[in-house]
């Protein structure tokens, strides 16, 4: 057999090899297996970038309640965000009803809190406010201003964002006429049996931060 024609059989397109169908099938099969195998490797490799178990273990935090005196607050870092626990006095709780006509969402229709906290106090127990202290406007940390008249002459107490002036009441409900669109977020939490500490476990999935 002369070499030229065998060369043509190898390289030139128009002259199909005798087993073209078998070649095409096996090439396709190899390519398919290669693609499936690659996919099966890529999935675990990419999943290795997910937050690891130590991050998940640190996702929950507990805050001791006994050191927080009435009217005082404690803010702790939680999931890289400030978490505030406020011990509200009966007087402070009384202001919540007084400001309701001035609020954007007084009845907490926007799911910024778990259903069990969809009430005026936005909490499981009226005196304890457990809240992610992040302004819904642009993620600043609002100042805690419980004293009457401290922000304005008619101020009854609440949160005041230093960045763009958004105002919230003592339940973290946003006032009308400020840049922030929503109430501040209430996470999922529960009290220990002796009620000496609160365990904060996760963000409420439907709530939005900012």
């Amino acid at each position: 057999m002369d070499r030229l024609s065998s060369r043509d059989a190898m390289t030139a397109q128009p002259l199909l090899p005798a087993n073209a169908g078998r070649r095409r099938f096996l090439t396709l099969a190899t390519a398919l297996l290669g693609a499936v195998g690659t996919a099966y490797v890529i999935v675990p490799l990419v999943e290795s970038l997910e937050p690891d178990a130590s991050v998940k273990a640190a996702a929950a935090t507990t805050v001791a309640l006994s050191p927080i005196e009435p009217g005082m607050q404690v803010t702790v870092p939680w999931q890289s965000k400030p978490l505030i626990v406020v011990h509200r006095t009966p007087e402070m709780l009384a202001t919540l009803q007084a400001v309701e006509t001035l609020l954007r969402d007084p009845n907490c229709e926007v799911p910024q809190q778990p259903p069990e906290c969809k009430n005026r106090f936005r909490s499981l127990k009226p005196q304890w406010l457990v809240m992610v202290r992040v302004c819904t406007h642009l993620c600043c940390t609002p100042l805690y201003e419980p004293r009457k008249g401290s922000v304005g002459p008619r101020w009854l107490g609440g949160f005041h964002c230093p960045c763009h002036g958004s105002l919230y009441d003592l339940s973290g409900r946003v006032f009308k006429g400020v840049p922030a669109p929503r109430n501040m977020a209430i996470p999922l939490y529960h009290f220990s049996e002796d009620e000496k500490q609160v365990a904060v476990t996760a963000m409420y999935p439907e709530s939005k931060l900012c």
Binding site: R3, L4, R7, M10, T11, T27, T30, G34, P44, L45, E47, S48, L49, E50, D52, A53, S54
Partner: protein
């Protein structure tokens, strides 16, 4: 598809590259088993880059945190064990593949004219790979990492004049600690991979310029057909791409078997003492190097003088660079050089034996054999200029013999 290719081709030589390096790059038709390892090295390099990036996403380069962050990869990171075992297995198999690839060069005289530069780039790649492996070896900061780091930087420190300064630059501190780890990450994850990538590209460019050698050691470009293509050549694509796919398949079987059933490979791929954290006050009871560096370690221990030992070590690494100019025989392949063939076999056995000795505890009984083997190693290079001129050769065929 055709229009897209045309669009790209007007702006980038895509089709030209595919033609010149794949479909119209003619390779000898008689490649055998030894010719799988070039493309496999490329595959392992890619694997190491990908798994390395993922490890780097979790690794913390500090004396306090490094060991724990590696354990966190093993215990806390989802699929972390898989990523790390791929990386450790890949590291060792990289050397397996490279050693077989280099041995092919010895067997078939692939370092000879006109492939001297191709060979030099290849040996440079090997030296870079040793550096890459060493820096990576220190990063987990187990006790073997720590003492390996100490010993090698001490070897550097023994280089006359500049050694002390060089070692201090490597360590970045009085000993091996956080400053060492931070720069070793920079070397291991950025500098040397970049260098390796450039060298690999240069290696491939040089290869495609001179063409591949083959087991017969005859130049296929000396016999061209009417179209100006080598008669005994076949296009790299599809013939060698499909053949290499099969090679990849077999390689992956070995790779998976190790990753899933023997990831530490009895302490060879992940050293046992590296499961305890770095301890500057306690040398592991048996301090042995990684298997792929063990022959050099055996040479170092065989010499009873520090400066001479380190000199020998560097000489042993440099010797392969000189191969193209030590071998004067015009016949390339060991198939037609029976004496040279035996020399290569003895040389390989010497390296294996030296490697075995290098991984044994430092006992005096092993000194005499280590010294004999050391002499044999250098004898290969020193005798080659004479042997290659005098050895009898078998007749070399004009063209590749039909297999």
């Amino acid at each position: 598809m055709g229009r897209l290719t045309a669009w790209v081709d007007r702006r980038f030589p895509f089709s030209v590259l595919v033609r010149t390096s794949m479909t119209e790059y003619y390779a000898p038709k008689n490649f055998n088993f030894w010719y799988f390892f070039g493309s496999l090295a490329l595959l392992v390099f890619a694997t190491q880059i990908i798994s390395g990036i993922l490890l780097l996403a979790h690794y913390q380069p500090s004396a306090k945190a490094a060991f724990n962050s590696v354990q966190s990869i093993m215990y806390d990171v989802k699929w972390g064990w898989l990523v790390r075992y791929i990386h450790t297995t890949g590291a060792s198999l990289f050397f397996v593949v490279i050693y077989l690839h280099m041995l092919r060069g010895y067997l078939y005289g692939s370092f000879k004219r006109p492939r001297e530069l191709l060979w030099l780039i290849g040996v440079a790649l090997y030296v870079c790979l040793m550096g890459e492996a060493y820096f990576g070896y220190v990063l987990p900061f187990g006790n073997m990492s720590y003492w390996g780091g100490q010993v090698i930087t001490s070897i550097i420190a023994a280089i006359p004049y500049v050694g002390g300064w060089l070692a201090s630059v490597l360590r970045g501190s009085f000993g091996v600690g956080t400053p060492t780890l931070t720069r070793f990450v920079a070397f291991h994850a950025v500098l040397l991979p970049a260098l390796l990538a450039v060298l690999i590209l240069t290696h491939l460019l040089a290869l495609h310029e001179v063409g591949s050698n083959n087991p017969d050691g005859v130049e296929i470009r000396e016999h061209l057909d009417a179209r100006g293509q080598p008669v005994d050549g076949i296009p790299f694509h599809p013939y060698y791409t499909v053949k290499d796919m099969f090679g990849v398949g077999v390689f992956l079987v070995v790779f998976c078997a190790i990753v899933f059933y023997a990831p530490t490979f009895h302490g060879l791929f992940i050293e046992t003492y590296n499961f305890s954290p770095a301890n500057p006050l306690k040398t592991p009871p048996e301090i042995t190097p990684a298997w792929y560096l063990a022959p050099y370690y055996a040479m170092l221990r065989a010499v009873p003088n520090k400066a001479v030992g380190i000199g020998i070590l560097f000489a042993a690494i440099i010797a392969p660079f000189l191969l193209p100019w030590l071998d004067h025989n015009p016949v390339k392949s060991s198939r037609y050089r029976p004496v040279y063939r035996w020399m290569v076999i003895v040389f390989v056995l010497t390296l294996v034996a030296l490697g075995w000795i290098g991984m044994q505890p430092a006992i005096p009984a092993l000194l005499p054999p280590a010294r004999i083997l050391l002499a044999l190693y250098f004898l290969f290079f020193l005798s080659l200029p004479i042997v290659s001129r005098l050895e009898p050769t078998r007749p070399v065929p004009e063209r590749i013999s039909a297999s």
